[in-house]
């Protein structure tokens, strides 16, 4: 809703795999993992010795010569043991992961999709499994099942399944609530088909990421058990080699190095893969689009414009004057402009309606006025003259001082624009104390007055309430109260009534009008509804595809729209002539509208 418009929205986003491969680090890491797995699989071919074969006479030979990495305490080739040990270590981790995904995935799927008693039981079971440290459970289990690696990893898989269960259940629940799933059910698709087609597709990516993480954990835990000496001593394993090397650390310190490197390498690779996947999925990579810089021409023109404004006298002096504003977003390959030259004016006490359809750039324009463009966006050209000074060039500190105090903002969606963790009272009081330096008590009193002013029936109760405890209409009134709390000169209202019920809309508009008159504020009212414009605005500006196509006094524009687009918009408004005739069945039916 208020995120940056996606410049690449035309094509479908590339698949997860493609995105991962594009990331250079992800590619290197994947290749490393593949190499390790291949080495383990091809161990008999790669190793020149049998891992159990050796003689005391060859013991503790250093690297080089016959043995690339040297030999251990009984003359066995280290490289061979490392390669064959990879099999055990990787297979053990794989076993844990498979058990975890099968148990956790299936039960999470059922719990999330069907819910009910299974969900409750599963959640409870998962909590128990997550309540105990894995290592301690494995130690206790070892006294029962003995030193077998496979048993230990299978049991660990059961422990890990709890986290997979939670992940899958959460994701499935979220998907289940999506409208398209309901649509699919209405269309008659069987549950199984829905699961396979829709649900699994969404669950796939998070589970893959989870798999990479838990694989890393499984390897670490398995090696840890073996390092403690509790593994199976008859087969080569990384942890066992670590244990052995540690015992001989004074005789041949290098023995500890090789298994350490393997464990660290594989765990690091898995963690990085998980991270790259996560970043690719959520698009939260470190590199984010940078705001494009202002172009040279615009910078030069700033000085000229400042001088020019002094001469401008067109009725009252505009408090805000936007000239040739261009807003762009950084995309691979350059800059994509969403606002391509907008001119606006607002005078004190005047309401300017800014109208246009979705994507026309009107919200971007008002964000730019407040310098609150989303990440990746920036003003690339033009000026935003506030009392003659181009605020596009203001420092952050100066802009912050302006916001809330001189320029205020009312957002579109009331519920998501209040901090859910703080009371309404706190959120009203905080900025007032910051800007106006009021004492807590004075600010509190003032807040109560403001709430009453915007028509809230029980101000003290609302002050103590949390945002989720009030209705949408009340929330919007609170936001309005907050916006005008410091008596700003310019009020920017971004579709303030769109998200509200029709009956409430009228009240909110009434409040806005009365406040505007009382405080003699300039208002920029963004909307897509001509009715609102007709109701409240003095002047109107029509935007289409990033430019203002028509601007003028409301009554004149309504009476005689000039621009073909404006006329198109007016034509689209339903009037009485547009009502269809009543639907007539074969045979006599009653006439008249229903």
């Amino acid at each position: 809703m208020s995120a940056a418009p996606d410049p690449a929205a035309s094509s479908a986003p590339p698949s997860l795999a493609r995105r991962l491969l594009h990331d250079r680090l992800g590619l290197v890491v994947l290749v490393t993992l593949v190499v390790v797995v291949l080495a383990a699989v091809l161990a008999p071919l790669l190793a020149s010795y049998d891992p159990g074969q050796g003689g005391l006479l060859d013991a503790l030979a250093g690297p080089g010569g016959d043995h690339l990495l040297g030999t251990d305490g009984v003359g066995r080739d280290v490289l061979a043991r490392l390669l064959f040990g990879s099999r055990i270590s990787l297979l053990g981790a794989a076993l844990a992961v498979v058990v975890a995904v099968v148990i956790g995935g299936v039960s999470g799927l059922v719990a999330g999709y069907v819910g009910g008693w299974f969900d409750g039981l599963g959640t409870w079971g998962a909590s128990i499994l997550m309540a105990l440290p894995g290592m301690i459970v494995l130690l206790a289990a070892r006294s029962v099942v003995g030193p077998s690696t496979w048993w230990a990893m299978a049991i660990f898989g059961v422990i890990l399944s709890a986290s997979v269960f939670r992940l899958v259940r959460g994701t499935v629940q979220a998907v289940r609530g999506e409208l398209y799933v309901d649509a699919a059910r209405v269309a008659g698709l069987s549950d199984l088909r829905i699961i396979f087609r829709h649900v699994l597709r969404v669950v796939r990516a998070p589970v893959i990421i989870q798999v990479a993480s838990i694989a890393s954990v499984a390897i670490t835990i398995q090696a840890g058990l073996e390092f403690l000496g509790l593994g199976d001593p008859t087969v080569p394993t990384w942890g066992g080699m670590l244990n052995d090397g540690f015992k001989k650390i004074y005789q041949e310190p290098l023995l500890v190095l090789w298994p350490s490197l393997m464990i660290a390498l594989v765990c690091l690779a898995l963690t990085l893969v998980a991270n790259s996947l996560r970043d690719a999925l959520e698009n939260s990579a470190s590199t984010q689009p940078k705001a494009p810089p202002m172009d040279a021409a615009a910078r030069a023109a700033t000085v000229a414009a400042a001088a020019a404004t002094a001469a401008a006298a067109d009725g009252g002096t505009p408090i805000l004057r936007v000239e040739g504003l261009r807003i762009g977003y950084g995309v691979p390959g350059g800059v994509s402009e969403v606002v391509r030259g907008v001119d606006l004016e607002v005078r004190a006490g005047e309401v300017l309606g800014l109208i246009g359809e979705s994507g026309s750039g009107k919200t971007q324009t008002v964000f730019a006025i407040m310098r609150l463009l989303p990440v990746g966006g920036g003003i690339v050209g033009g000026h935003v003259l506030w009392h003659g000074e181009d605020l596009a060039r203001f420092s952050d500190a100066r802009m912050t001082g302006l916001r809330g105090r001189r320029i205020a903002y009312i957002p579109q969606e009331p519920m998501s624009n209040l901090d859910p963790s703080f009371t309404i009272g706190h959120q009203l009081v905080e900025p007032m104390r910051h800007h106006l330096g009021l004492s807590r008590k004075a600010a509190h009193t003032r807040a109560l007055e403001l709430l009453a002013r915007v028509g809230i029936p029980d101000p003290p109760r609302t002050m103590k309430a949390y945002p989720h405890e009030v209705s949408g209409g009340m929330a919007q009134r609170v936001l309005i109260a907050g916006a005008i709390s410091c008596e700003p000169e310019l009020l920017i209202a971004d579709e303030p009534t769109t998200a509200l019920d029709v009956t409430v809309q009228a009240e909110i508009l009434e409040i806005l009008r009365s406040l505007q008159q009382d405080l003699h504020m300039g208002v920029v009212l963004v909307t897509h509804d001509f009715g609102v414009v007709a109701d409240v605005a003095d002047r109107v500006a029509v935007m289409q595809e990033g430019v203002v196509v028509e601007t003028g006094d409301v009554r004149e524009v309504f009476r005689a729209p000039q621009h073909p687009y404006t006329r198109q918009l007016f034509d689209a408004i339903l009037t009485e002539e547009d009502i269809r005739p009543a639907y007539a069945l074969a045979g006599a039916v009653e006439e008249g509208p229903r």
Binding site: L132, M135, G404, H468
Partner: protein, 313 residues
């Protein structure tokens, strides 16, 4: 709030019962000949039989379980088969040691990871990337490897720290601090990454929320927006990770305590596992489960306090 508390406690107790029952059945079914292991190779058959009878090993399983349960609810977890000491005493004397290690580590991780995560989320760019790589490398290396490295270099070679031993805080606070520095460092290095990632992710999500723009539009200084508002909202999920972290650190403490010869629950688990001293293993499992349930409860409460919506659910 009270109902929420009561419900959580009841759920916790149910879990405890389930864990204890399953653990008891599994462990006692292991069927090791304890009496012989206790008395060693030189003991005679009569001695072995006498000790077995003394330990009650000839009674049916259900009877022994009921005995154990009735003792457990009164705080008596039986006696160690190997040292004859009451399990409750054994476990509680070592519990403090492990807890001091794990709680301190958890707090340090929470603080450091928060700083790191917030910085990474707010600054982005190269700061973010460097922090990610560094903490990932730290996470990839198992904590026992880090511990070995620390002991060898800092304790034995440079002699900045004692290589083993644990000084109780009541004996000497500075001694305690010195003795746990290396173990704590080994424990937290791997853990910081996980929590920092979570904080970073939550902060990034939080910064994208609508209300952040609205707060900024009210002219609040950026530091207030980030630390007072966004961080507060991001803390909820981060606390969940912290709860998991606590459990993970308890497991990590097992190996760390071995390396540093710290007389905590971890080293107790290992030695009793190899010996097959079942009452002590049971005691450790039960006590650890209780600790974890308490910590989870505390974090739930904290999350509830932080997130008003959760208080009602």
């Amino acid at each position: 709030m009270l109902r929420f508390l009561a419900r959580r406690v009841a759920s916790g107790l149910a879990m405890l019962v389930a864990i204890s029952t399953v653990a008891y059945l599994l462990i006692y079914l292991a069927g090791t000949d304890i009496a012989r292991n206790l008395l060693g190779q030189n003991a005679s058959e009569e001695a072995v039989a006498a000790r077995a009878a003394e330990l009650g090993l000839d009674r049916p399983l259900l009877e022994r379980f009921i005995d154990w349960v009735s003792g457990a609810v009164r705080g008596d977890l039986g006696t160690s088969w190997f040292s004859g000491a009451p399990v409750t005493d054994l476990v509680t004397s070592r519990l403090g040691v492990t807890l001091s290690l794990v709680v301190l580590s958890t707090l340090l991780v929470a603080v450091i990871a928060t700083v790191v995560g917030v910085l990474a989320a707010v600054r982005r760019g190269w700061v973010d990337r460097v922090l990610q790589v560094v903490s990932l490398v730290g996470a990839a290396i198992p904590n026992y490897l880090v511990a070995l490295l620390l002991v060898t270099i800092l304790a034995i070679q440079l002699q900045w720290f004692e290589p083993t031993g644990y000084v109780r805080p009541e004996v000497s606070l500075s001694g305690w601090a010195m003795s746990i520095t290396l173990p704590v460092v080994a424990l937290i290095i791997s853990a910081i990454a996980a929590v920092a990632q979570q904080v970073r992710g939550s902060m990034i999500d939080g910064l994208r929320q609508d209300y952040v723009r609205t707060l900024r539009s009210r002219g609040l200084p950026e530091w207030r927006v980030i630390y007072l508002h966004v961080l507060r909202n991001a803390a909820g999920p981060a606390l969940s990770v912290l709860a998991l972290l606590f459990v993970g650190l308890l497991g990590g403490a097992v190996v760390i305590e071995q390396v540093f010869a710290i007389p905590g629950l971890g080293s107790l688990s290992v030695s009793t596992t190899t010996q097959g001293d079942v009452p002590v293993i049971m005691g450790v499992v039960v006590v650890v489960a209780i600790i974890v349930l308490i910590v989870n409860l505390a974090i739930d409460l904290l999350q509830g306090w932080l997130n008003p919506k959760a208080r009602l659910s």
